[in-house]
């Protein structure tokens, strides 16, 4: 097909053509290399700054150093919430060879629950392959030793040290301290994302929530050099975090313990505070729960058990529980009567054991009627009305005051509004007025309802901490402070917040307090039972509030109604009377009556008073 042209070749022409083409190619090569040189000049000289910045941004990463959460200590510095170093078993996925084999191996060594495995599966999707993914939290020392010895057989398994919030006193302080938990989505959208970079936990309830920002502290940061996979190679510069502040409480651990022991299995709440500054010495709600369960995510089963329990252990009865205050409001109402000149301290009212409204045949019964079949006495004055908790006296007084005047008189004591105690979920109770009822129920106020409110029943509701505040007003004869748990945040003392004083005649205070003293210190006082061997004076007031309405002329029979429908028992008190150091409020939920409450209060008072009594006698004053 092709003819070989060897013979006919013109080698000079061939060489000339070749050389011409080579020279041409040479020009192309030169211009191409010049173009490349220009391209590199463009990148390296003209756009140098831009690419240098980009390469620095590539390599340097700002990383957060989470602050250590502040501690919570009682008034004596005893630890109530701590950060415990714990060890978690974690797995670095990219270093694991055969995953199934590894888990088999691990399970043969230590106990790994299916819960752990489930959560691990969840977590691993959110982590990068070089990040350790926690498999089992809080390893025991023994488990750590086992893992340590078998490390060589477990590629990719690491033990991560971390600080975990722990509550050494468990349920004793669950309703005070609260707990932290993992930051959830809702919280993530409200917190300062910058400050919480690197923080996993956030206060959920209680002090942990209320003082979250102080406890949390300020995030630190470090510039780290990381490679393309995000692995940290070295730290370039560092700004240390501002660790969270330690919360020092007014609360006394011993008193808290005494309160818990005194209440025992009884559902209820105890609030003890120092009337001189409103500092809460004990705040206990029973039943409680173990706050440690919540820290690293409570299991569905545990949570359901707490949530669905009829005893509502998650309810902080001291601030969230709203109960009819019953007769505990009688001193306050009496003071109002005196101030309004409706009664004088010695005004006596006939007491047949029941009361009727003019033009109404319905009998409003005194509680004593059921016991004695008659009234407290032929005539009852204020002091006796308080000491023996006479209902008839207060029916009459309430009728004469009217519901709105009652509300006006009780409001300065803080009923019907939150005390603003530094703890979450506080409820405001109800201080009813005619306007309130109209708005709430669209109905007018009936005169009979005023009588119920006169003895702390009906629509009226109050929380134990509200009553503690009200009793503080009486103890201080008008002055009071916002109840508070925290005495110091870090080095900064929390200044007690004074509430507007309740102005009243000195003699009127004296009359009311005298009545309250008689509650304990006279034989016919409703709490006379606790006066035995008393080394100091107590001014108190009992209260029994109905959970269900008793029909007209119906008989309240404790044995016949279910436990949940039994009356609540109250006892409010302060001591010593002349120089009050402590206010105590005890609520015995469905305790049947105040007799379930006042022995508890006595034990709490004793615990507190015993330690100061000797000093007192010697005229010293040191609390």
């Amino acid at each position: 097909m092709f003819v070989s042209r060897d013979v006919l070749r013109d080698t000079h022409r061939e060489a000339a053509i070749n050389r011409q083409r080579v020279v041409f190619a040479g020009f192309i090569v030169l211009s191409a290399l010049a173009m490349l040189a220009y391209r590199y000049y463009d990148l390296q000289i003209r756009n140098y700054d831009q690419f240098l910045t980009q390469s620095d941004r590539n390599r340097v990463r700002l990383e957060a150093i989470p602050p250590t959460r502040g501690l919570i200590v009682d008034r004596a510095g005893r630890l109530l919430a701590v950060n415990e170093p714990t060890h978690a078993l974690a797995v670095v996925i990219e270093r694991v060879g055969d995953e199934a084999l590894l888990f088999q191996e691990l399970q043969s060594l230590i106990d790994i629950s299916s819960d752990d495995l489930e959560r691990f599966a969840e977590r691993r999707h959110r982590r990068r392959p070089y990040d350790p993914v926690p498999l089992k939290l809080q390893l025991s020392d023994e488990e750590m030793a086992i893992i340590g010895v078998n490390r060589h057989r477990l590629p990719g398994v690491t033990i991560e040290a971390q600080l975990t919030r722990a509550y050494p006193h468990g349920s004793l302080l669950s309703h005070v301290v609260g707990y932290v938990g993992r930051i959830n989505e809702r919280e993530a959208s409200t917190i300062d994302a910058e400050n919480y970079r690197g923080t996993l936990h956030i206060g959920k309830v209680g002090l942990e929530r209320w003082y979250e920002s102080a406890l949390h502290g300020l995030v630190g940061s470090q510039n780290i050099e990381a490679n393309a996979h995000g692995r940290i190679l070295r730290v370039l510069e560092q700004e240390l975090p501002g660790d969270g502040a330690t919360l020092s409480l007014h609360l006394d651990l011993d008193l808290q313990r005494a309160a818990a022991e005194a209440l025992g299995d009884q559902r209820g709440a105890i609030v003890a505070l120092d009337p001189r500054d409103g500092g809460i010495l004990a705040l206990y709600s029973n039943p409680g729960f173990d706050p440690n369960l919540f820290v690293n995510g409570i299991s569905q089963r545990d949570y359901a058990a707490l949530r669905d329990s009829a005893d509502t252990p998650l309810l902080n009865r001291a601030v969230q529980g709203q109960y009819p205050p019953g007769s505990t409001i009688k001193p306050m109402l009496g003071l109002a009567g005196l101030e309004l000149d409706l009664v004088e301290p010695d005004t006596a009212i006939p007491d047949p054991g029941w009361y009727t409204l003019p033009g109404d045949s319905r009998r409003y019964r005194d509680w004593i009627l059921r016991i004695r079949g008659r009234g407290h006495a032929d005539e009852v004055d204020l002091k006796m009305a308080i000491a023996e908790s006479c209902d008839v006296y207060y029916y009459d007084l309430a009728r004469r005051m009217g519901i709105d005047a009652i509300a006006t008189a009780l409001a300065p004591f803080g009923l019907g509004e939150k005390t603003r105690v530094d703890i979450t979920s506080e409820q405001s109770g109800i201080l009813p007025t005619s306007a309130w009822k109209r708005e709430r129920m669209g109905q007018p106020w009936y005169p009979g309802e005023t009588l119920s409110v006169g003895i702390g029943q009906g629509y009226m509701l109050a929380t134990p901490v509200q009553l503690a505040q009200a009793v503080m007003v009486i103890a201080n004869r008008g002055a009071s402070f916002q109840p508070s748990l925290v005495r110091r945040v870090g080095d900064k003392p929390q200044v007690p917040v004074a509430r507007p004083a309740v102005e009243a005649d000195e003699a009127h205070w004296a009359a009311v307090i005298a009545g309250m003293m008689d509650v304990v210190h006279t034989q016919r006082g409703t709490a006379a039972a606790i006066s035995k061997d008393l080394a100091y004076t107590i001014a108190g007031k009992t209260g029994t509030s109905q959970v269900i309405g008793i029909a007209q002329d119906g008989v309240y029979n404790e044995d016949e109604i279910s436990e949940r429908h039994r009356n609540h028992g109250w006892f409010v008190a302060f001591a010593p009377v002349d120089e009050p150091r402590i206010v105590v409020v005890v609520l015995a939920e469905n305790g049947g009556g105040s007799s379930a409450a006042y022995p508890v209060a006595r034990r709490v008072l004793d615990q507190w008073m015993d330690r100061w009594l000797d000093d007192w006698v010697m005229g010293q004053d040191d609390v």
Binding site: V29, L33, R39, Q44, S55, R59
Partner: protein
């Protein structure tokens, strides 16, 4: 073979001639010196690119040793022998290429290797040398400048192996192999009109090739070039990171072993295809210009050997090898800087990898054979 007789003795002022040992070994010193500098500099960069891995360095040295021996051996063979064996080598290579999809070994989704027991072997590499030899043989046999029929015949010879390689699939090598043949066509003096119509034809055939021939990842690579920012973490990542590495080097660079882009693994393929980005980052534009200078010296020397060669066959082969070498350089340096598609061409004599180095050095061996033959004749 009668070419030599008719050539006049040249006025050879080649300095390489002065070294008796170099002459004895058929070594072209002017070619060897820049190659040597390139290798030395390349090892320096590779050491950094491999994060100070002495093992990598050793293996690369071993590659160079093997390649050096291959080069020396290739330099000993006379041009006459090359011409004589060209068709046979070409046919052998073609058979191997056809065998690859049948009995070949796969790697990374492509079948490019033939396994010869202990050694794995890429027939496409053999073709890089066989191709220019074959086409040069063809033209010395059927006339320079080529007429239409021999031209079409040579084009078939070019397309056949290129097609075999493109289906492996290895687009980059296929283009390089085709180019090495086409360069011979060009140097042989193919008519400018043929050339222009061929370019027009190529452009016309690009569309069906784009649609049917190229695999998705090859298309992606080309698309990435035009808009690398579009897919920052995917296809565009390599280009963005290599441009960042190059640009952040500035004039004087970040210093040897100080490159952050490469040492922190932002730079992909930093030991192989993208190694010039390491050099640019650590040694700056100075280093890049020095590198380009070395390449320019090698290319210039290659062209000089081509220009001064005594036979058409030698001229065609030497020029084609040189141009192919240039294409390696241009495509690699261009693609890393984001001006050419990323087609997977190593940086000659610098990138880590035995195959490409052996092929390149063999090419230099052929160049030296041509260069020393010229001297032998001139004596």
């Amino acid at each position: 073979m009668s070419d030599y007789d008719r050539n006049l003795p040249s006025h050879d002022r080649d300095l390489g001639r002065g070294t008796p040992l170099a002459q004895l070994l058929h070594v072209d010193v002017w070619l060897l010196v820049p190659v040597f500098f390139l290798i030395a500099g390349g090892l320096l960069v590779l050491y950094s690119a491999s994060d100070g891995s002495v093992g990598t360095l050793w293996r690369q040295c071993r590659n160079f040793a093997i390649a050096g021996v291959a080069m020396l051996l290739a330099a000993q063979i006379s041009v006459d022998q090359y011409r004589r064996w060209a068709p046979l080598v070409y046919v052998f290579g073609l058979i191997l290429l056809i065998a690859v999809p049948l009995v070949g070994v796969g790697a990374k989704g492509a079948q490019r290797w033939l396994s010869l027991g202990v050694v794995r072997f890429q027939p496409s590499e053999l073709m890089k040398l066989a191709m220019p030899l074959m086409i040069a043989w063809w033209y010395t046999r059927y006339g320079i400048p080529p007429r239409l029929l021999p031209l079409l015949g040579s084009l078939c010879l070019v397309v056949l192996p290129a097609a075999c390689i493109v289906i492996q699939p290895d687009l980059g090598t296929s283009l390089l192999v085709a180019a090495s043949g086409l360069f011979v066509v060009f140097i042989a003096g193919v008519s400018v009109w043929y050339l222009l119509s061929a370019i027009a034809l190529a452009l016309l055939s690009a569309w069906p090739a784009w649609t049917y021939l190229l695999k998705d990842y090859q298309r992606q690579r080309i698309l990435t070039l035009f808009d690398p920012e579009a897919d920052r973490l995917g296809a565009g990542w390599n280009i963005i990171q290599s441009k960042t590495a190059i640009g952040s080097g500035g004039w004087s660079g970040k210093g040897w072993l100080q490159g952050t882009q490469s040492h922190l693994d932002f730079l992909p393929e930093s030991q192989t295809d993208f190694i010039i980005a390491v050099l640019a980052e650590e040694f700056g534009l100075r280093g890049v210009l020095l590198l380009l200078g070395c390449y320019l010296l090698i290319i210039a020397r290659g062209f000089w050997i081509g220009l001064t060669a005594q036979s058409s066959f030698s001229r065609l082969v030497a020029s084609s090898i040189t141009l192919t070498f240039f294409v390696y350089v241009f495509v690699n340096i261009g693609m890393v800087a984001g001006v050419l598609p990323v087609v997977g061409v190593p940086l000659p004599l610098v990138s880590f990898g035995g195959t490409s180095i052996v092929t390149l050095m063999l090419g230099f061996g052929v160049l030296m054979a041509i260069s020393t033959e010229k001297k032998r004749i001139s004596q």
